[in-house]
Symmetry: C2
Subunit: 387 residues, 2 copies
Amino acid sequence: MKVGVIGVGQTKFGEHWDKSLKNLIQEAGLAAVNDSGMDKERIDGIFVGNMAAGTFSSQEHLGALTADWLGLTGRPAVRCESACSSGANAFRQAYMAVKSGEHEAAIVVGVEKMTDVRTDSALTSLMGAGDAEWETPIGLTFTGLYALMARAHMNLFNTTREQMALVSVTNHRHGLKNPYAQFRKEITVGDVLQSSMIADPLGVLDCSPLTDGAASVIIASESFIKNNGFAKEPVWILGSHAATDTIAFHDRHSLTEMRSVKLAAKNALEKSGTSLNKINLLEVHDCFSINEIVCLEDTGFCEKGKGGRMVERQEITKDGSIPTNIEGGLKSIGHPVGATGVRQIVDITRQLREEGFNQVNGAERAMAVNVGGIGASAVAHVLSKNL
Amino acid sequence: MKVGVIGVGQTKFGEHWDKSLKNLIQEAGLAAVNDSGMDKERIDGIFVGNMAAGTFSSQEHLGALTADWLGLTGRPAVRCESACSSGANAFRQAYMAVKSGEHEAAIVVGVEKMTDVRTDSALTSLMGAGDAEWETPIGLTFTGLYALMARAHMNLFNTTREQMALVSVTNHRHGLKNPYAQFRKEITVGDVLQSSMIADPLGVLDCSPLTDGAASVIIASESFIKNNGFAKEPVWILGSHAATDTIAFHDRHSLTEMRSVKLAAKNALEKSGTSLNKINLLEVHDCFSINEIVCLEDTGFCEKGKGGRMVERQEITKDGSIPTNIEGGLKSIGHPVGATGVRQIVDITRQLREEGFNQVNGAERAMAVNVGGIGASAVAHVLSKNL
């Protein structure tokens, strides 16, 4: 059974001191319904991507909450969580649910409310993505973990701070036209290098921000789509895969590669019947600048260790060999953790429909890679304009 | 594609001051692997049911954690959450994943670690299942919410405290032979009526306890099962459905019925091609005594308002018309919230294999109903000895 994306929507990403979790869910979900042009009542399943509303807002049970606040009570609903890849994992569960025939048309909402929350420190909540017994108690943060990865990458492959800075610079440039982005502002390599050091070698401008936001997509079976004749052409899901690695970073065989990204991307690609050179648009998980470099390598778009040079050669820009994070990535758009994986699908859908804010000419086939924790989870999808 | 249960396992339910979340996951998961007799390496997907490890243990990302601690890294993993029905919802997602063809053999682990946790009060964490904006801040607890339901039921249908007490008495009697149960002790109606009042009319013996524990099942596609020839006959999943209702109890049309239970049970039954009178074993969600009564009504085993009298007539015991919670239910076995829905499937599987601790003669077809919050979610499954 083929499955397509028929509607997308999102809130502005940023600090929403005047909006609760419910408001964000509602705004993004109803935007996706509107975009699809479908009768909301036809939606028969709800899948929510969220990492930590329990610690942020004392609210679990987001499936039912979302059903309620979208006016869809009655229907099956579930929240899916795999840290920062919760959004893509919710999308994947929805995809399998439709593919199984148990659902015909499902809505996916990714959401995270990270400001105006009860927790002392968002960073403490986010450490729930790591190993709470071995990593959290010694004071590690995710910036600290990715800093270890960055240092190892610099030592092994001569990756430079300038190359990492260029990831942030490129993403900020890509996000300039994106009305939903948290930061629409050009920055320079110098700005990144001079930004406050968070965990050596990562300055604050190497880090994606704390963000409130929600993104939503509606997917449906091929028969549902054909029988209902929607105004906009669907974007098809050709392949989906997820993968895992050790929860603790110190248990890895390598500090510079993400086995989960390799496995998820390779398998999603295989399932799609596509080869890497047919992919002409890429979304990867630049939670920290080093991660975009590692993702470029582990998805196979360049050899291990050459990601920094690939960024330097402008291969990830609009006219490069593989336009990446073309609407701004996590760095410029913002990173409401549970929303990001869904937001990647939203941006790809807009691009494949040629409705992008920073439109790539002739984008036909795209890959999205969403990473959880320091690569303990990764989820990859291949989407296409045509079946 | 037909899907069957091929292995089950669990930890003892109770207070495990010497075991962490990881230990519980590992013990239950490996017990299920052993029970199945399969090569662990053949498992290709991991689905975890857990409600609140984020607030209880500062640990999210339980999919990857479970993959890691079961020695299954690499494979896709996701945590599924719908409050106290997280376990059944994880089982449902795994079922759809296998049915879709994306997975062949998946392990489901439901887990909750509720003692020895960082939170001030487990009850506060559990309120994450309610409406964090409207219910939690006024001091409501889940005992309080179910007490409102009990009072309304008493007023409308003349349900008595004695009838509710008899639910607990029956479940304790059912659990006497269950080696995994938290409480293996007979209690009397008098004990329940005299137990400390928690939220009028519910005394402490009307309430399921706080529990640490994990339960696990392995499911596989019909072709995988046939090609591998396992020692034990599989138990088949004939139907699965989930449903939702308003997150806040004050938004309901009725305080005495759970629309989610009605919808989930009715649809699971329809999908299974079975009628209610073919079901000869039932698992329902007795988080509080009143809920077992309401579930008996809303699944359709008796008319609305007559659940109390049904319990009085001993219809839910081993020789009754519909043996219910025959291994002890949440009251006697314990209620590690994310584990309970999986534990229900474990107990049904044992019964349908005729390996029950309190074996019902000739049990062939069973239904499990797992409830989240005060019925904002419900998940129902129909399982059978034969396809």
